[in-house]
Subunit: 236 residues, 2 copies
DNA sequence: GAGTGGTCTAGACCACCGC
DNA sequence: CGGTGGTCTAGACCACTCA
C-alpha cells in the first residue's frame, strides 16, 4: 500500500473509533509531514481521500475540520451489492438462488451488456431478512469476461469470486434508482406485506479496464429500502 | 479559476460535446503538459477531476480512456435541489409556496439543525410538472445563518439567494432515500394518481465552514422519482 | 525498451484566517 | 504577522503495457 493510503487508513480509522473527535481540527499539513516523515504532497493526498469520503472539511487559513459521522449513519457511499449492504444491517440473512443458467445473449442483453455476441449468465436470487423475502436480485453477467461461474458462487458472493478467484478488479458503477409496480410473479416470489411497488436499483458495473461485465436489477420491498449518500457540491 | 480547473473544464466540455469521442484515449499526461504548457501535477489534477466525475478511466501503461456518458443519462451526481433536477427534465414546472413562516426552533428542529436556540424558517412547496402536483418539498433553514428570507425567494430558488445574494458557499450534503406511506394531508395536497407511497429524500446541507444550515425532506410521487449515481469502488 | 500512469520529494508563491 | 490550506513547478523512481 502506498504511503498516502496508509496515512488515510490510519486517520480514517482513528476518526471512526472516536479517537480523533469530530468538531476538532486535524494537525496541520505541516505538522502531519513531520509526524509521518513524508512530503506535503503525500499528506495532501491522504487528506484528499478523507475529504472525498466525507471525513473532513478543509478551510483555508484554519485547518481540516473533522466532521460528525454519526449525524447520518454509515456507510457514506451507496450500496454496491447485497453482501455489502447487509454488513450495515441487523437480522438473519438468507439467499435463495431462484434462477441460474447460461444463455446466448439476445438482442436486449447484447445492448445492455454492450457485447457483440456470446454467453451470458442469468442469475436471480431472493434475499430474505429474518425469514421475510424482501429483495429480488436479477443479474446478467458477460460470460466472455466472467468464466466458470457456478451455483455455489451465486449462493455466496459473486464479487468475491470475481475479485479473489478470477483476480479481476471492479472499478466503478453507474446506478439508477426508480420505483416500479411489482409484477404478478414478483408479488408471488416475495413477501410483499401489502405493498404493490418495488424500489428498483439498476446498476452497470465495470472492471478496471472499463469493460462492462454486469447488469443488475435489484428490487427491494419499499419499507426495506434505504440509500445513503454523501455529495460535495459539483464545481463548474 | 486555477489552471487545472480550466483544463478540466475544457476537456469535460469537449467530451460532452462529442468532440473527444468515448472509447478513445486522451493524449498522455506528457502530451497534455506540452499542449497546455503546465507541469505534470497540474495535468494530473485536471485528470483527477475527470476521473471523479466519471468522464474517464485511467489504466496503467495505457492511458486515460474516455467513458461513454450516454450509457445512462446525466447528471452523474445525485439530486441536490429541485431547480437542478428540473434542468434535466422536460415539461412545464410550477412552484406553489404552501407554507412559509419563521418560528422558534422546537426540540426536534434544534436537534435536526444542530442548533442551541433561535429562529427557523419553515417552508413547504408543492412542485408541479405539467400541472400535476407530484412533489412536496419541506425545508427547515437555520434562521441565524440564513437571514432575510422572503416568500419571493421561496418562490424562486433558495440556493440562488443563499449563494448569490448572501454570498455563502454550499459545500456538501448528506442524503438519505427511503419510501414511506403518504399521510392523509399529503394525499390531498398532491395528485397521487392512485399511489399511496412517497419517495422521501432527506438531506442535510452544509456550508463551507461545515455549519449545517438546512434540513430538507423532498417527497416524490413514486413514478416521478429517479436518482442517478456514479460511484467508484471504495478502497480499503 | 519506450511510453504510460502511480507515487514521492523539495521548494516556491499565493490567499485566507486569527491575533 | 505567522500559520493555514491552495496551487504550481521540476525532477525522480516505480510498475505496468505493448510491440
Amino acid at each position: 500500500m502506498a504511503k498516502y493510503q496508509k496515512i488515510y487508513h490510519e486517520l480514517s480509522t482513528r476518526i471512526k473509533n472516536g479517537e480523533i473527535r469530530s468538531h476538532t481540527y486535524l494537525p496541520s499539513e505541516n505538522e502531519l509531514m513531520k509526524q509521518y516523515g513524508v512530503s506535503r504532497d503525500t499528506v495532501r493526498k491522504a487528506l484528499d481521500l478523507l475529504l472525498n469520503y466525507g471525513y473532513i472539511q478543509k478551510n483555508k487559513g484554519k485547518g481540516s475540520l473533522v466532521l460528525d459521522l454519526n449525524r447520518i449513519s454509515f456507510p457514506i457511499s451507496g450500496i454496491t451489492s447485497f453482501s455489502e449492504m447487509v454488513k450495515t444491517m441487523h437480522g438473519e440473512i438468507k439467499t435463495i438462488v431462484h434462477v441460474f443458467y447460461e444463455q446466448e445473449a439476445d438482442e436486449e442483453l447484447k445492448q445492455q451488456l454492450h457485447m457483440e455476441k456470446g454467453k451470458v449468465y442469468h442469475i436471480e436470487r431472493i434475499r430474505s431478512i429474518d425469514d421475510e423475502k424482501v429483495i429480488l436480485d436479477i443479474d446478467y453477467l458477460n460470460g466472455e469476461v466472467i468464466k466458470g461461474l457456478t451455483l455455489e458462487h451465486a449462493q455466496n458472493s459473486l464479487y468475491k469470486y470475481i475479485e479473489n478467484e478470477l483476480g479481476l478488479k471492479i472499478s466503478f458503477a453507474r446506478k439508477e434508482i426508480t420505483v416500479e409496480k411489482a409484477s404478478k410473479e414478483e408479488m408471488e416470489l416475495l413477501d410483499m406485506a401489502g405493498y404493490d411497488l418495488l424500489v428498483c436499483v439498476k446498476s452497470y458495473t465495470y472492471l478496471e479496464d472499463a469493460t462492462l461485465f454486469q447488469y443488475t436489477i435489484s428490487k427491494h420491498r419499499p419499507d426495506k429500502f434505504r440509500f445513503v449518500d454523501f455529495a460535495r457540491r459539483m464545481e463548474l
